[in-house]
């Protein structure tokens, strides 16, 4: 049976072009880039070329401002803890209630350590209320950390604007953004739109590079301290021997991703829109989470399916070779339903029945048709078992 992979916000297949450029650095140019002999030159050159290439992909910025890390989670940790440490005279941080756990949990930890952390809520569309943000800014605001695009719903925040407002309020506020879901799906330009952003995190495995490599942009002059100490690598800003093949892969993937933004915005978007439109027509009592947001990622479709549980749907989809994910409590390690959907006040009858499809450039029309062919029937069968579904009248029964 064919596998339809529609969980690209979780991870992605490595692009063949990426794998190819990585190969030599495992077996031929395997040297430690810090070594002095000439042979190591190719490894250290590879890192610097990768850095320059990524800097180019992000708007032609000075490459010196890109650091390589092990993941977007590490980049987020470095961004938040590093900024807090460099600004001991300030106390408040502003973030959102719908961040990825690698920002959200740090926010909670900083709260335990005595900082004031404002977690901005979202409205029913998953969007921030601009006035709440303005009112949250204080004279002791240390940093703002707001994601560019939400991994669950695909709802995008106007980070460029929010960063400008923060800097106009007080130039000492450090602005960080988790751009993990944005790179390759939205234009990310640190020279123009995002000129007020100081720190930006993303990773490789969401853009067809391997897991285990990420990057952190640190704008020159930002009050920020290194997070991982113990070596001179990355000019002492991120210690540890560089993962040369993965860094090379990240740069290639980044180049392809940025070049592919147009395809994402057109072909992938039309696939997603076809999926969304057809499923809404075929399935009763289903909503699209984040549908009315001003900007939403072109590849993401998050459905709220009333009356049933998401994990059961995933299981059935999986039997049909379809890979998707859910915000249901049963699928989370903590048995707590999605914090994102809770913050959006998705009705409790649907929060456990959330289903996310996330596409990539490797999806085609046949994938979409297969999902459309099997999903309505799966949902109908599971609803038959549900005590909250009136099968005769084909509606929710509470």
């Amino acid at each position: 049976m064919k596998t339809v992979y529609a969980d690209n916000n979780a991870t992605t297949a490595i692009a063949p072009e990426v794998l190819e450029v990585m190969q030599p650095y495992f077996t031929v140019d395997y040297f430690n880039p810090s070594s002095m002999y000439a042979a190591a030159r190719s490894a250290s050159d590879a890192i610097e070329n990768a850095r320059a290439s990524i800097a180019q992909s992000l708007g032609g910025i000075d490459p010196d401002q890109i650091l390589f890390t092990g993941s977007a989670t590490e980049s987020n940790n470095a961004a938040l803890f590093g900024t807090v440490q460099a600004n001991p005279d300030r106390r408040q941080l502003i973030t959102t209630a719908v961040e990825h756990p690698s920002v959200l949990e740090i926010g909670k930890e900083l709260e335990r350590r005595g900082h004031d952390v404002t977690f901005l809520g979202v409205d029913r569309n998953g969007e921030l209320v601009r006035d709440d943000y303005v009112r949250a800014l204080r004279r002791d605001t240390l940093m703002v950390s707001i994601m560019m695009a939400n991994n669950e719903t695909g709802v995008c925040f106007p980070v460029a604007e929010l960063a400008r407002i923060a800097k106009e309020t007080d130039s000492r506020i450090v602005v960080h953004t988790d751009a993990t879901q944005a790179v390759g799906k939205l234009p990310v330009n640190l020279q123009t739109d995002l000129q007020h952003v100081d720190l930006l995190a993303f990773s490789g495995h969401k853009i067809h590079a391997p897991k285990g490599v990420g990057a952190l942009f640190v704008r020159r002059g930002t009050r920020w301290r290194p997070f991982i100490l113990g070596g001179h690598q990355e000019k002492g800003r991120r210690a540890g021997t560089e993962n040369v093949p993965y860094i090379v892969g990240l740069a290639k993937a980044c180049e392809l991703a940025v070049a592919g933004v147009a395809e994402e915005q057109n072909r992938v978007r039309s696939l997603r829109d076809r999926l969304q439109q057809t499923l809404i027509e075929l399935i009763p009592a289903v909503e699209v989470n984040g549908k009315d947001a001003e900007v939403r990622l072109p590849n993401t479709l998050n459905l709220a399916i009333h009356g049933i549980e998401g994990e059961a749907i995933l299981y059935e989809l999986s039997r049909h070779g379809i890979c998707a994910s859910s915000g249901s409590a049963c699928t989370s390690g903590t048995l707590d339903p999605s914090h994102v959907l809770k913050a959006m006040q998705v009705p409790f009858s649907a929060i456990h029945g959330s289903l996310r499809f996330s596409l990539s450039r490797y999806n085609n029309e046949a994938d979409i048709e297969w999902i459309i062919a099997v999903l309505p029937d799966i949902i109908a069968r599971i609803r038959k078992i549900s005590p909250y579904w009136d099968d005769k009248r084909n509606c929710l029964k509470l």
Binding site: E48, D89, D131, R139, T169, R223
Partner: protein, 317 residues
């Protein structure tokens, strides 16, 4: 990373190592000028000697004819030493003219040096300065007359951890200067000593400039939060309560600003006021074009400054 040397650096280094004719390795017996400069950072020392053709009457017109070096150091230190000697001999400089040779001249001669190796060129310039000082003593020239500030830096300060790699500034030197000059911020350090003016990585690095400042002066309370007594007093009389400030701005918007904007098909909504920042939302045709939006914002800000308080600033949200 492996150092990326220019071809010139590698050529000079190879020539020196092979002892090719025309290279300057060695030490002159009874030299007219002798200077030594060491930097433990790169594990290198440069012993520099030169001989002059003495002018019969005026020692300041002596010409350097021979320059030699003994260098314990890395590729670029040896190349920089070669560069120094070649430069002096080729240009027939007087010792006083030689004082004008900077480390940048050596870097240029070498077609550049890797950032982390800049201090090798500094070493050349420093050793030269000391050798000229030695010549001045031997020839009875009062160097202070020519260059007021030639006291070579305290030897201990050349050694020690380099904090600013770009300008090769060490921790002991920074600690002394921070105290001596009363430097209280990174910007002040950069202005006074250059340190931190390059890649800026040392600003907030562990053991970096901010740490040295904090260790010297204690962690400073943020000055942004405190008005100096003088400025506070100046504003005290005119200071409006937040309530009155809000009322005045609201009134100004209702009576003057909004009617104007409405005439142009625009509108304005007050979102919040704090810390002399007035947050407004602009709607209508002005929000469509960036230039118009900017012009409208500036005009509104000007009116609010003029009628209410000139410290107020408008932020469009």
């Amino acid at each position: 990373m492996p150092w990326k040397y220019s071809d010139k650096v590698l050529k000079l280094f190879m020539a020196a190592v092979k002892g090719e004719a025309g290279t300057h390795m060695g030490e002159l017996e009874d030299a007219d000028g002798f200077g030594e400069h060491g930097s433990i950072v790169c594990g290198d020392t440069l012993r520099f000697t030169f001989r002059v053709e003495r002018h019969p009457t005026d020692p300041t017109r002596d010409i350097i004819t021979q320059a030699r070096y003994l260098t314990f150091g890395c590729t670029s230190a040896i190349a920089a030493s070669e560069a120094l000697c070649t430069l002096l001999e080729e240009q027939h400089k007087t010792p006083l003219e030689a004082l004008q040779v900077t480390n940048q001249d050596l870097i240029d001669f070498l077609d550049g040096l890797p950032e982390q190796k800049i201090h090798c060129s500094v070493m050349g310039a420093e050793a030269l300065q000391k050798a000229v000082a030695d010549w001045a003593v031997k020839r009875g020239v009062d160097l202070t007359k020519w260059l007021p500030d030639t006291t070579p830096a305290d030897k201990d300060e050349d050694e020690g951890r380099v904090v600013c790699n770009c300008f090769s500034v060490t921790e002991p030197y920074l600690r002394r200067k921070i105290k001596e000059l009363g430097l209280h911020s990174i910007a002040e350090i950069t202005n006074a000593l250059k340190a931190g003016g390059g890649c800026t990585v040392c600003h907030h690095a562990p053991g970096g400039l901010q740490d040295l400042l904090d260790e010297t002066w204690g962690v400073m309370p943020n000055k942004d939060f405190e008005e100096t007594p003088a400025s506070a007093a100046a504003h005290a009389e005119a200071e409006l309560s937040p309530f009155r400030l809000g009322q005045q701005i609201e009134a100004l918007i209702t009576e003057l600003i909004r009617p104007q904007l409405r005439g142009e098909g625009n509108n304005i909504e007050l979102v919040d006021i704090k810390e002399h920042k007035v947050y407004c939302r602009m709607t209508g045709s002005c929000s469509q074009r960036e230039e118009t939006a900017r012009a409208v914002k500036l005009r509104v800000e000007h009116q609010i400054k003029e009628h209410v308080d000139d410290r107020l600033q408008v932020i469009v949200v």
